[in-house]
Symmetry: C2
Subunit: 166 residues, 2 copies
Amino acid sequence: MEHKSFSDMPCPIARSLEHVGEWWSILIMRDAFFGIKRFDDFQKSLGIAPNMLTRRLKGLVESGLLEKRSYSDHANRYEYVLTQRGKDFRPVLISFLAWGNKHFAPEGANLLLADADTGKVANPVLIDKKTGKEIVQGSHKIIAGPAASAGVRQAIKAADHTETFF
Amino acid sequence: MEHKSFSDMPCPIARSLEHVGEWWSILIMRDAFFGIKRFDDFQKSLGIAPNMLTRRLKGLVESGLLEKRSYSDHANRYEYVLTQRGKDFRPVLISFLAWGNKHFAPEGANLLLADADTGKVANPVLIDKKTGKEIVQGSHKIIAGPAASAGVRQAIKAADHTETFF
């Protein structure tokens, strides 16, 4: 791999990418949300080389996003199911879906998110659950958390994110 | 690159990953939101090799997420600023941030999102803006969009996402 270990960086985005920062991993997660559980079905859906799929599934299991379970009396039949940590990845996927539909679907949307009860197309946006305020440019900012080192506090203070973030 | 072109897939998540599906690209976007604009500053922040940084910045410019602008009278001084498409990537980054804080910050959060007015820590969640309904397991589902082919409609119908998605 050509990257440094992001785990060294205290940024939660960097740490997340340590676990899913790869095309295939995110597409495997997408398929898992879509109900796919078995190796052959992932392979068929993704057109991925078997050794690559093996590696990525192993990584997602090690990172605690998928759990490997045997699904029959056959010794070597496994399925991969979402853990709670994996399920909590949902907002990332939906945010990708909304962004892709907005910017990379010139012919119109192929897939949409809809209300499960009414079937009406949803418009996913982020809000602060505490205040109900939509998270848009200028509404929110990054602050140091309780575990931030002096260096992190310094970097946040120095960052010029008054205009853009977040 | 070891992956097929995801642009062939009509999925909006796959198409998004075509443009940012790489550790560095997402971290460069994070830094851009944080106010970083210049090559040297990206390099210092990321500890990335210059040729890699050049490649990734070029990709993000070509994908329309960053705009390259000269920032002084010097011929070769450029800065990279977020386009509207780049700014619309915000929810993906914030979703990564929230997920990282929840699952990969055993020592506590280093960075948090806070209300820009009150400074109070925010709890970012996705809702359907049309209904106000939070997007959680079982609340929403994937449906075919207007541009979906017969094959896509078939795949959505066949998918077992009643339990997990979305």
